[in-house]
Amino acid sequence: MIPPMKIKLYHPTREITLKGPKQVAVLLRELNLPKEAHLVICGDELVTEDLVIPDDQVVEIRPVISGGGA
């Protein structure tokens, strides 16, 4: 059996699992995360919203608002 995708989320930092395959745009919508405020990293690579992520992938959804004022 293929394990589900592991998704790292922030604020607070946590990990969830979801059954794939799932398109990036759908993933963000289902998690109620605005695409203007988030980037999706699959494995080690930045990916666009049309990509379909299969099961057994490690995914990070990184908020673009971070750090302090410069």
């Binding site: 922030y10 604020h11 605005p34 695409k35 203007e36 405020a37 980037l39 990293i41 690579e45 930045l46 990916v47 666009t48 919203e49 049309d50 990509l51 990184r62 908020p63 673009v64 608002i65 971070s66 750090g67 302090g68 004022g69 410069a70």
Partner: protein, 301 residues
């Protein structure tokens, strides 16, 4: 999704430009936007040494990375704000970046200088943390630049920072702040170090993407003191508008700048005639003492 420029696999779609780019073309786009901001606004030239304010977040580290790649002469300045583990982790990331690029870094720690971090200073003076932090940062950027002979201080403020600040200033009708909201603030004949924001043309999402693509190790957490800050609410509102109508942030802020430039006087930090040295620290001020010294006088001895 393919890159609009070269047909390789895209890594980012930018709705506001109705385009998608691969990693290589996106890096060129970022460098071009920064170069355009610097040259069109006469921020600095290759002969000047630039003090770059580096927090350890994506914006400031991406700015430093781009300026190094564009062959500008830079020195980093990191203010350790004394916010516990967050400040320690931030400083480590800044030091690692500087070491990996072989560039000079100045570190100034509030705890060492004043025996207190920004949280304690805010608490003792009953000021909101972001307000006290802003006063302290502006003071130290200018003072350290002036003391060490840097003509210009560059910060990593991006399009989202400037658009959300503009929204806040408009909602409150803060006209004196609106006058000062510019990507370049003059040095007023050497009274101040010039303040510049070379990332003002780039969206926060684009800078985060640049940092990820270029393997810049930055602090992903938000500052723990920023929880509930109005700026985060304004950013959220603008991001929702941006999703519904791509280009909103760009049109809002750059449209403001276009109208501001048509005004009879250019933006300045303060009118030089109103300024005199602070009797306590010597930095320029319009008040009896400067805002930083006023803040520190309220800290219990």
């Amino acid at each position: 999704m393919k890159c609009r420029q070269c047909q390789k696999s895209a890594v980012i779609k930018m709705e506001r430009h109705n385009t998608s780019l691969c990693g290589g073309c996106f890096n060129l786009y970022v460098h071009d936007q920064v170069d355009r901001a610097i040259t069109e606004n006469k921020m600095f030239d290759h002969g000047e040494q630039i003090l770059v304010a580096i927090s350890g977040g994506k914006d400031s580290l991406a700015l430093w990375d781009v300026l190094i790649k564009l062959n500008y002469r830079t020195v980093g300045l990191h203010l350790n704000l004394g916010i516990g583990d967050y400040s320690e982790r931030s400083q480590k990331k800044v030091e690692a970046f500087a070491a990996s690029r072989g560039v000079e870094l100045i570190v100034h720690a509030y705890q060492e200088a004043y025996g207190l971090g920004v949280i304690e200073i805010a608490e003792e003076t009953a000021r909101p943390a972001c307000s006290a932090c802003g006063t302290m940062k502006r003071y130290h950027f200018n003072r350290i630049a002036m003391e060490r002979g840097f003509p210009v201080v560059a910060t990593g403020h991006n399009l989202d920072d400037e658009a959300s600040r503009l929204l806040g200033n408009v909602l409150q009708w803060q006209e004196e702040y609106l006058e000062k909201q510019s990507p370049v603030l003059s040095d007023e004949g050497g009274t101040w170090a010039r303040k510049v924001k070379p990332l003002f043309r780039l969206a926060e999402r684009e800078i985060a993407a640049y940092s990820i693509l270029n393997r810049i190790d930055y602090i992903v957490d938000e500052c723990p003191m920023s929880k509930g800050a109005k700026m985060l609410l304004y950013k959220d509102v603008l991001n929702r508008l941006e999703e519904a109508s791509p280009g909103t942030k760009h049109k809002f802020y750059l449209g403001f700048l276009k109208r501001q430039r048509s005004m009879p006087t250019a933006p300045t930090v303060s009118k030089p005639a109103d300024l005199h040295p602070c009797p306590s620290c010597g930095q320029p001020t319009q008040g009896a003492v400067c805002s930083f010294c006023r803040l520190m006088q309220r800290v219990a001895p």
